[in-house]
Symmetry: C6
Subunit: 75 residues, 6 copies
């Protein structure tokens, strides 16, 4: 991926960090499936499937561990 | 998400921390499926499915690792 | 959940910590499915399914990481 | 579980630690399905299923993280 | 695998680290399925499956935890 | 398992560490299914299944976290 999408793991707030974790989860998908059109089509399906949503939330949780540690848990 | 829903990872007690982990797990879903109506409909199904419940508990467990570390394990 | 079920992550022994991890895994389910009757019914099924049992053991393992760290690994 | 099966997370060697991780994974199952007869019957099935074996290995890996940290990685 | 593909976990930037995590995830597959032809064929399928993409993103997230820790989170 | 297969988590290089993580993932399977014949038969199947390969890569990633931490990330 040639463009620059991740400058730092530092965020101002915990919520910003959670939203960065969501971005990381989505980028993990995008590197495998670069087509916006395909990803949007797939999202229509999995956003209506409880197990798919739980799985998505799990990837966010794992990335949030990383971002939170990187920020010293915003203490 | 424009509103502010996460102010801090600090909680007074371990149980409050566990409940924050549950909130994080649910917010991880909500960012993908913002519709309250859809999420409530899906919950009716997965709350009766053992594997779905185990998966949900796993996401809570991962988020609880983060919250517990952020609080120095309430020692 | 109004009642107090988690006072501390500190336990006297490693085995007590493992059993607390099991409790955390079950509470992660209970927050999503509060009905004792439904959970007991579901347990009858998944307790006879190898993959469900492995998944349950995984949630315990994740929670045990948290509890063990909270206790300095009982060293 | 009334009997004492886990005395410590400390082991003499890394391999002993890995074997303790296996024990923890199995105990995570046993607390949910206490019947030796049922577990042995289920094992006959999942020991012939590649995905089930991978899932079992994953639970061992998670527990091994805990045991290895508890032992300072046997350095 | 006889050739040298991993020199270090150190990267200049967080984004380089994320891309190394992707490489680690792919190498984890390659050690089990060394055939480029088979892996490319399989990718055509799973790149159109939402759950497969989420699972792939999860492996990246786990590897990114390792790479980020190795780099002190690029602070 | 009577023979000695794991002497240490220390490795000279990051790549050696990744390969040790693969060995740990495979040993996690072998303790449950000791038969080389059965494991080889199963491998023929799952090595052609994208989701199985992703799951295998995930177990490697988890074990690599352990090995990398044990080696101070080869810094």
């Amino acid at each position: 991926m040639s463009n620059k999408w991740l400058k730092s793991l530092q965020t101002d707030t915990a919520q910003d960090g959670f939203e960065l974790a969501i971005k990381l989860a989505r980028m993990g998908v995008k590197y495998t499936q670069p087509s916006d059109e395909v990803r949007n089509r797939l999202r229509a399906d999995y956003a209506e499937n409880a197990d798919s949503l739980t799985a998505a939330s799990q990837v966010v949780a794992i990335n949030f561990q990383t971002v939170a540690a990187a920020n010293g848990y915003w203490r």
